[in-house]
């Protein structure tokens, strides 16, 4: 997997590079601001060597506000094949909505703290690189909390709610099964029950499923 890292703190950039290299991935470039990120990815893509995934911090110079989110949205428009994982000190459901606008293919939005769980973090990077989704549990909790479909959500069993949350995070059925220590079949049953209760048609791909769930929660 070929990765570009955009993070203004040298310490964190080095740390992320070490972490990903250690797991056998190739960090092709590390940059410190959003402009450099866009230029680097453009240049790499022009050489026919576009990265599989970009890991970008939200706050970067010059204004230290939301450069990372804006750059990610642009990258998703310009290079649909490149996965974008946005890392942030805070997660806000509003940014997630902006990132996911239109498609949940190859996008991720995680709290920076998640790098502490090295395996899960690297899994998320790989998932996003392959076109999947990785949403922070905290974002999902926010989405569930402010959804106006509380009456329907209240009709889910606690287990189904748990599965719905993991689905919204972008996990596959087998990943959910591993996490909850149940069989794949059991998860499939929960998923079809959830879709039935929410009145959604069961979607094919995992990332489409995420979008269906998020659209439902946001409507």
């Amino acid at each position: 997997m070929r990765v570009v890292i955009a993070e203004d703190s040298v310490l964190l950039r080095e740390g992320l590079t070490r972490l990903l290299t250690d797991r056998g991935h190739e960090v092709v470039a590390g940059v410190g601001d959003a402009d450099a990120l866009l230029k680097t990815v453009d240049a790499l893509a022009a050489d026919g060597a576009a990265p599989d995934v970009v890991v970008a911090d939200v706050r970067m110079p010059p204004s230290h506000t939301d450069e990372g989110v804006r750059a990610a949205v642009r990258l998703r428009g310009d290079h649909p094949g490149v996965g974008v994982l946005v890392l942030s000190q805070y997660v806000e459901e509003r940014y997630a909505t902006e990132l996911l606008a239109g498609s949940s293919r190859g996008v991720g939005y995680l709290l920076k703290d998640r790098v502490a769980e090295v395996r899960e973090f690297v899994d998320a990077v790989v998932r996003v690189a392959r076109g999947g989704t990785a949403l922070d549990p905290e974002v999902v909790a926010q989405l569930l909390g402010r959804s106006r479909r509380q009456d329907v959500l209240a009709g889910l069993t606690p287990r189904e709610r748990e599965v719905l949350g993991l689905m919204a995070e972008g996990r596959t059925n087998s990943a959910i099964a591993r996490q909850l220590v149940v069989s794949d079949g059991a998860v499939e049953k929960h998923v079809s029950n959830i879709f039935l209760k929410l009145g959604l048609s069961p979607s094919e791909g995992d990332h489409r499923r995420v979008l269906a769930v998020l659209t439902y929660l946001n409507s």
Binding site: T65, Y90, E92, R146
Partner: protein
């Protein structure tokens, strides 16, 4: 810092003393004789300033000119107070300057001078003084020449009228003084609140993240020592330290959000309030209807107001649903938080709502809670709308 005690205390109304041909009387005579030239100058000044300003007020320069004239009238008042102090022994407090909103533009300054009651009273003083000046001058002159024995009585009678006029028309305005006192007390509250916030942040850092980091450093230090002799114990210690550091991160994040949420700066009230709403224990419908983003400080106060109110809903209301509405009416920003809980919230009890009322009061805001027992509860807050300066747009 000016405090009220810096101003001279209201002195005894007059130090006129006994009637007779003493120094005091001669000073009074000088005052009466100087009434004519002084009032002539004052009359000409205020007439010209007001007439020209008013006549030109249909044009762009009219109102600023009138404002400049009024500011000058205050100067006339100061000269007259000094003359009365020197010759009549009447001490009048200097009126405070009309308050100006910080950061207000030139139009703001003009407007505040035009509404300055002290300056307008000085203008009135300028008008009435001319006939009085002519009269006192003539009577004093005649008395000096032909009514010698009556001079002290006449002088005393006329200077008493002078004293009354100076006191009545050139003194500080009650309204203005009240406003200045209010602003001084508000500033005190703002400073106290800021100091209390800093103390709270310090305490949270000290008790929370800092303590965790110390524990973490200790755990890692132990693990380092153990690494060689007991790798399994060392691994367990590293594991614990790992958990500890994650908790510290979360605490720091919550603390930073409590100081100032990043999303508020980046995306404004709507996004920030949705985020607060999603943390509330009951479903919250948020509606923010603003034509543009207000000044950063206004956004901050609005955010913390809603935050505090929703925390109350989470903790005490036992509600099923809550709504947050934010909108603008004229130059006010309105915030309303309602819930269908059990009601009975009382801003006079409990520090939360009382603190909120105090904070809003300090920024010229209003805070009203309507919460009958059994609910529903409606809390309404009102803030002065301040627009963003061009630099922050």
């Amino acid at each position: 810092m000016t405090t009220r005690s810096d101003r001279p205390a209201p002195a005894p109304s007059s130090r006129t003393g006994r009637l007779g041909f003493g120094a005091a009387m001669w000073k009074e005579v000088v005052h009466l004789l100087s009434n004519l030239p002084v009032s002539l100058v004052a009359f000409v000044y205020v007439t010209v300033a007001v007439a020209v300003g008013a006549a030109l007020s249909v044009t762009v320069v009219g109102l600023p000119l009138l404002a400049a004239g009024l500011a000058g009238a205050r100067l006339v008042g100061r000269v007259e107070r000094a003359r009365a102090r020197g010759l009549l022994g009447v001490r009048i407090e200097e009126p405070s300057r009309p308050p100006r909103r910080p950061g207000g533009g030139a139009a703001d300054a003009v407007w505040s001078v035009l509404g300055d009651a002290v300056a307008w009273r000085t203008v009135l003083y300028g008008f009435v003084r001319l006939p009085w000046g002519v009269l006192t001058f003539a009577v004093t002159l005649v008395a000096l020449v032909v009514l010698w024995p009556a001079l002290p009585y006449l002088v005393r009678a006329m200077t008493n009228a002078d004293r009354a006029m100076v006191r009545g028309l050139l003194g500080p305005s009650d309204e203005l003084e009240r406003r200045v006192a209010e602003l001084e007390s508000d500033r005190g509250v703002v400073v106290d609140v800021a100091a209390a916030d800093l103390r709270r942040i310090e305490r949270d850092l000290h008790d929370g993240a800092q303590a965790r980091l110390v524990a973490l450093a200790m755990g890692l230090g132990l693990a380092k020592e153990k690494a060689a002799e007991d790798p399994r114990a060392a691994a367990r210690m590293v594991e614990e330290a790992h958990g500890e550091v994650k908790l510290a991160l979360q605490e720091l994040r919550d603390l930073a959000r409590g100081i100032h949420p990043a999303v508020l700066t980046d995306r404004g009230l709507d996004a920030a309030l949705s985020s607060v709403a999603s943390r509330c224990t009951v479903p919250v419908t948020v509606t923010v209807d603003l034509p543009e983003r207000p000044a950063e400080a206004t956004e901050g106060i609005a955010y913390f107001t809603v935050s505090e109110l929703l925390q109350n809903v989470s903790k005490h209301a036992r509600a099923h649903h809550a709504t947050v509405d934010v909108w603008r009416t004229g130059d006010r920003l309105l915030i309303q938080v309602t819930d269908d809980g059990r009601g009975g919230a009382d801003p006079t009890r409990g520090t939360g709502l009382a603190g909120l009322a105090e904070r809003l009061d300090a920024v010229d805001g209003l805070f009203v809670v309507h919460s009958p027992p059994g609910g529903p509860t409606t809390a309404t807050a009102e803030l002065p709308w301040r627009s963003r300066t061009a630099a922050h747009r």
